[in-house]
């Protein structure tokens, strides 16, 4: 599983130190993002999906216990880079992030246009603020922020405009990959549809590759080319969007899909009894086994990611 695609994670691990023991937030994640495509990572709260975003960008808190594995970006293992080189050459140059909650992601005392131009100045792509602002204006046009908004402060913008500004800030350096962490979860329905339109247009016009991390399955289908499902720190299913939204393979993905209410078609809704396991001391076998309706004896061993066909992998003994 080496460097195919623009970004690949191989056995990525991120454990946090707590006084009850290490929390295995990201536990052996292997994923691959192909150029110009969008990989959607869906999962429920506490499954480690935001930690995955942080692990990819190496934005780590102080209590990291383990940070290991490989991250291949265009064939280079960026995990091997020292922190300073990573900061100078990778983060926000080749890999950018649209963090969760654009309200909090913007500095309240800096004009939006200046904030968006800042990455250019920091990374030496612009020599003066004026030059940076001209590139920022270009990005603002693409994400649909009116240019006279660039001189405003974040609190003067609506939620949708702030989210667009956060997206602009991630795109201004023209990175290879943008990680979007719940970009629309705090927004209204119409604004959400608007932001998804913006992302689709950017994908079409700029060819940016996206990793979209979300709990919202219906909205994720708006932009997905490939999909991965996370459960209890692990990826349990990887497949192409067409297969995933129509017929997911893992029992957890199936139950999750059955719990999504639909507006335009009628179906019976299901839910998943029980709760996800603790990430401090996860069960030895399949982590979903306790809640799984299809459990059998073999589930007490941990299943590998089993390749079902060319594009689908699933971490479940049913498909062995």
């Amino acid at each position: 599983m080496a460097a195919n695609g623009v970004l690949s994670a191989e056995d990525l691990r991120l454990y946090f130190r707590t006084n009850k023991g290490p929390v295995q937030a990201v536990d052996g994640v292997t994923l691959s993002l192909r150029r110009g495509r969008t990989l959607v990572v869906v999962g429920e709260s506490g499954c480690g999906k935001t930690s995955l975003a942080r692990a990819i960008l190496r934005l780590l808190p102080r209590n990291v216990e383990t940070y290991a594995g490989h991250l291949w970006l265009n064939g280079t293992d960026i995990m091997a880079l020292p922190e300073e080189r990573f900061r100078r050459e990778i983060r926000w140059v080749r890999l950018a992030l649209v963090p969760q909650g654009a309200m909090n992601a913007l500095n309240p005392v800096i004009r939006v246009g200046d904030q968006v131009a800042e990455p250019l100045l920091v990374h030496g792509r612009a020599t003066s603020l004026g030059e940076g602002r001209r590139s920022a204006d270009e990005i603002f046009r693409q994400v649909g922020v009116p240019l006279d908004f660039a001189d405003r402060y974040p609190f003067e913008l609506s939620g949708g405009m702030r989210q667009r500004a956060a997206i602009a800030m991630a795109l201004v350096t023209v990175p290879d990959v943008v990680v979007l962490d719940e970009p629309t979860s705090a927004l209204d329905v119409l604004t959400q549809a608007n932001i998804m339109n913006v992302l689709k247009a950017i994908k079409r016009d700029m060819g940016t590759s996206f990793i979209l991390i979300t709990h919202d399955i219906a909205t994720s289908s708006e932009i997905a080319d490939d999909a991965a499902v996370m459960y209890a720190g692990q990826v349990v299913e990887v497949s192409q969007a067409g297969d995933f939204y129509r017929a997911p393979l893992h029992p957890y993905s199936q139950a999750l899909m059955a719990s999504v209410p639909t507006l335009h078609e009628t179906k019976a809704l299901g839910f998943i009894p029980g709760r996800p396991p603790s990430l401090i001391d996860p069960p030895r076998g399949c982590r979903f086994a306790d809640r799984c309706p299809m459990r059998f004896s073999r589930c007490s061993e941990e299943p590998p990611l089993i390749r079902v066909d060319e594009h689908r992998q699933v971490k479940c003994w049913l498909h062995a």
């Binding site: 209204d188 119409l190 549809a193 219906a218 289908s221 209410p261």
Partner: protein
């Protein structure tokens, strides 16, 4: 829907206005935020109604006004045939209305055990006998399936999962055996898999106790599984009300149509198309536009009508009423034909 008899109506809201005064320097009145602006409806016994709208449309203010947490600027709330006016009415009324908050963790006092949280409403409402209180607490915990009950009584909110916390909030809302439950986005903070469980629970309780239910939400797809009728709010007003399937199959108001068109179902085909989204943003409630509040964004706006007069409700079907000038002739049974060319999006269904 047949005109319901007076006995059948549990809650009647008449011309409700909740305006917030805005002052500068503490005393100069600048204006009013018209969060709820002339809302009227009747709620029958045992009926579940969804109030749907985007943030800032006034739906939460409406909820809080109905709960008596905001005093209405104008208008009246009649509960069980009795107008709710003074403090005595309010006390009587609040014991009969349950409130399920949006954020369960924020709604539960962190320093109280499950037993105390449920004990307090009973104490305040004069259930003096401790054994009686305990019996009622056990019964309600059993109903919301926080079982085994004895395990849950001494726990604190942080020891419960999100779903369990929301069950506890439901239990607290139910403990005084109310006739009306007001749920303000009860599942929006929960994960998809837990969400359905809580909706099932509320639905079951509602059927079992013949409760009326007002479900405030921005999410039409959950409302569909849950409610018989829906009200769509925009800019502080109810702009369309209909049986929920009618609303989903044949939305009439251009705003409702836009809202429905913007909500995706999980479908890989979504990635291949852009969605129609009306331009602009919801109106300021401080200076709402004249006439119909949606007219600046509306593709069918009729100049000289929509931007001048506030549309009344027009009856377009059984129990289906819409506040939109496009349907002004529907009253005489003639569909409106002079709708101008629209600026964007699909044609209206009529």
């Amino acid at each position: 829907m047949s005109p319901a008899g007076a006995d059948d109506i549990l809650l009647s809201v008449r011309g409700l206005h909740t305006w917030f005064e805005l002052r500068r320097l503490g005393f100069v009145r600048v204006g009013f935020v018209r969060a709820v602006d002339d809302v009227s409806f009747d709620l029958r016994r045992g009926e579940a109604v969804a109030v749907v709208g985007e943030s800032g449309c006034g739906k939460s203010t409406l909820a809080k006004t109905i709960l008596g947490l905001h005093l209405p600027t104008q208008g009246e709330i009649i509960f069980d045939g009795r107008p709710v006016h003074g403090a005595a009415d309010l006390r009587w009324y609040r014991a009969r209305v349950g409130y399920v908050q949006q954020d369960p963790y924020g709604a539960l006092p962190p320093f109280m055990s499950v037993q105390r949280i449920l004990d307090e409403p009973l104490l305040i409402n004069g259930v003096v006998h401790p054994a009686e209180r305990l019996r009622r607490i056990q019964r309600i915990l059993d109903e919301v399936r926080l079982t085994p009950v004895e395990d849950f009584l001494p726990r604190y909110p942080h020891m419960l999962s999100g779903g369990q916390q929301q069950r506890l909030v439901v239990a607290r809302a139910m403990i005084l055996e109310p006739k009306l439950i007001l749920a303000d986005e009860p599942v929006s903070m929960l994960d998809a898999s837990v969400r359905v469980e809580i909706l099932h629970l509320l639905r079951g309780l509602q059927a079992k106790h013949n409760l009326s239910l007002i479900y405030i939400t921005h999410d039409l797809s959950t409302a569909r599984y849950f409610c018989e009728r829906a009200f769509v709010m925009y800019g502080g007003k109810i702009i369309e009300r209909a049986p929920i399937e009618d609303l989903l199959q044949a939305p009439r108001h251009p705003y409702t149509q836009a809202l429905l068109a913007a909500i995706p179902d999980p479908d890989p085909a979504n990635a291949a198309r852009l969605r129609d989204v009306p331009p602009g943003e919801p109106p300021s409630l401080l200076h709402p536009p004249a006439g119909c509040r949606y007219h600046p964004r509306c593709p069918f706006v009729i100049k000289g009508v929509c931007d001048v007069d506030v549309p009344p409700d027009f009856e377009v079907g059984a129990g289906h009423r819409v506040g939109c000038w496009l349907y002004r002739e529907a009253r005489e049974g003639v569909p409106a034909t002079d709708a101008p060319e629209r600026a964007w999006g699909p044609a209206p269904s009529s």
